[in-house]
């Protein structure tokens, strides 16, 4: 037991510091990807609702393909394809090839996947807003922008939050898949620590505990947010 605690110590020769750094990377990627996913999701949802046939078609391909292909495959595909395309663009414009930082690549890859799910969550939330709320906004003379910003988006949030909370938890766990492209987030740090010390069970248990902490804290935050946005609705209990 004493031996185990030494292995988990924050400074070398303990591996605890590595694990925490991994957790911090995981959190940063998840947060960045989630925000990117939300932005893509907003664009995707309103594109599907108001867009012309071409835009709607493109978005349908996006959400269908992304949701159909396993995440691990997508991550490999998007990571190598994305970095290759970027470098091809750079070299064709006469710039040097560059190494893309694992952090930004991770955010881009997972965010792109999240965007497809967010699109559907937000589109569903839009359709759940009672039409009378929108009519009242139009009838009082609001511009389309004001009606969306002041009435429709806030009315969508209570319907979107359960789905969006799920997506956040999925984002935190999806970061583990980035280990396959060699980005040192929590899963890869754990693997290295475990491999170097042969204390597999303990390190994976520690990693599991860290993921659990992250998810419990997130659930708490989402419960607060949800309570705030549901304040206009009588409790169902």
């Amino acid at each position: 037991m004493e031996n185990a605690l030494e292995l988990l110590a924050l400074s070398p020769p303990g591996w605890g510091g590595n694990l925490l750094r991994g957790l911090w990377s995981t959190f940063q990627i998840a947060l960045g990807a989630y925000i990117l996913g939300l932005a893509l999701g907003l664009f995707g949802a309103f594109g599907k609702i108001y867009g012309g046939p071409v835009l709607r078609g493109v978005l349908t391909v996006y959400t269908t393909v992304i949701r159909a292909v396993p995440e691990l495959v997508l991550i490999l595909l998007l990571y190598y394809l994305g970095t290759d395309l970027l470098n091809m663009a750079l070299t064709s414009m006469g710039f040097e090839r560059m190494d893309i930082s694992g952090l930004w690549a991770g955010i881009y890859v997972i965010g792109f996947v999240q965007g497809a799910y967010s699109t559907e969550v937000l589109r569903g939330a839009f359709h759940a807003v009672p039409f009378g709320q929108i009519e009242a906004a139009r009838a009082i003379g609001m511009s389309a922008f004001t009606a969306h910003w002041r009435i429709i988006l806030p009315a969508m949030i209570p319907f979107a939050l359960p789905g969006l909370a799920n997506l956040w938890l999925i984002a935190t766990k999806e970061t583990a898949l980035l280990a396959v492209v060699g980005f040192s987030e929590l899963a890869l740090e754990t693997k290295q620590a475990a491999g170097a010390t042969k204390a597999y069970f303990m390190f994976y248990l520690a990693a599991g505990a860290l993921y659990l902490m992250l998810s419990l804290a997130s659930t708490g935050v989402f419960a607060l947010v949800e309570r705030r946005f549901r304040r206009g609705q009588p409790s169902q209990s």
Partner: protein, 262 residues
């Protein structure tokens, strides 16, 4: 009524001429005209399917009329295209005219994520650009008048139907509209809550507001209206001063209608 030829010379606040509306092949309004001068209360009555609600919703363009002219204070709503492809030509004009037409819906349609006070302030601040403090003061005064000052911090879902409708009326009044449009304001209410809403509407009529009212409350229409318009299958079947047409109906259909609803 004045001579229709000089209609543009009269000071009609709201004027609708020969309004048509079709949904696909179904023609719901087959040429309905009306006008209201300042202070007029015009009640639209008729059985369901007569087109009275559709007519009202055409006035503020929640439905787009397929033909016809709408003028508010002499300003004509601009359209482009024709028939089912006829759309407003100027979105800014539509928004501005809507802000001058206070709409009260059958199902209240208060914004659920805002308190009663915020609902009444919202249009003033976001549409009219009234400073918040001023909008709040005006909203509180109006809520006081409709008897909801104590409920101003509540969310709509926690209020009774009658309270919600009074809040919705306050929201419309706060815009200081030129004309108020009521779309069956008491039809969604429990019978015991109808009275409190009618009382508020009567108060507004008595202070000289111009109103168009779609209603099933015959006695109320008779009491508050300066003109009653009876619609049947998308046409005006009978119209006139309430005391006159209710006591001496000219059309048999209207006579039967008031027999059945009294």
């Amino acid at each position: 009524m004045t001579d229709p030829a000089s209609a543009s010379g009269t000071a009609a606040t709201l004027q609708v001429e020969d309004l048509h509306k079709s949904f696909g092949d179904l023609e719901v309004l087959k040429g309905v005209s009306m006008s209201a001068r300042e202070g007029d209360v015009v009640s639209l009555i008729g059985s369901s399917g007569s087109g009275k609600s559709t007519f009202l919703r055409c006035i503020n363009l929640l439905e787009l009329p397929t033909a016809g002219v709408i003028r508010l204070s002499g300003e004509e709503v601009k359209f482009k295209g024709s028939g089912p492809n006829r759309v407003p030509a100027d979105k800014k004009q539509v928004a501005r005219l809507r802000s001058q037409l206070g709409m009260v819906f059958q199902s209240f349609n208060l914004w659920q994520h805002m308190t009663v006070l915020q609902n009444v302030m919202e249009g003033q601040v976001q549409v009219l650009g009234v400073p918040k403090a001023e909008a709040r003061a005006r909203a509180e005064a109006i809520l006081e008048r409709v008897g909801l000052y104590d409920k101003r911090a509540q969310y709509p879902a926690f209020l009774s139907g009658g309270q919600q409708q009074r809040a919705a009326i306050a929201r419309a009044v706060a815009m200081e509209p030129k004309v108020m449009l009521f779309d069956e304001p008491t039809s969604a209410l429990d019978p015991e809550l109808v009275g409190e809403v009618l009382k508020v509407i009567r108060g507004l009529a008595e202070e000289g507001r111009t109103m168009i009212l779609v209603t099933h409350e015959m006695r109320f229409a008779r009491d508050v209206s300066s003109e009653v318009v009876y619609l049947h299958e998308g046409r005006v079947e009978e119209r006139g001063a309430p005391d006159e047409i209710f006591t001496h109906p000219k059309s048999e259909r209207f006579a039967a209608f008031i027999q059945n609803t009294h």
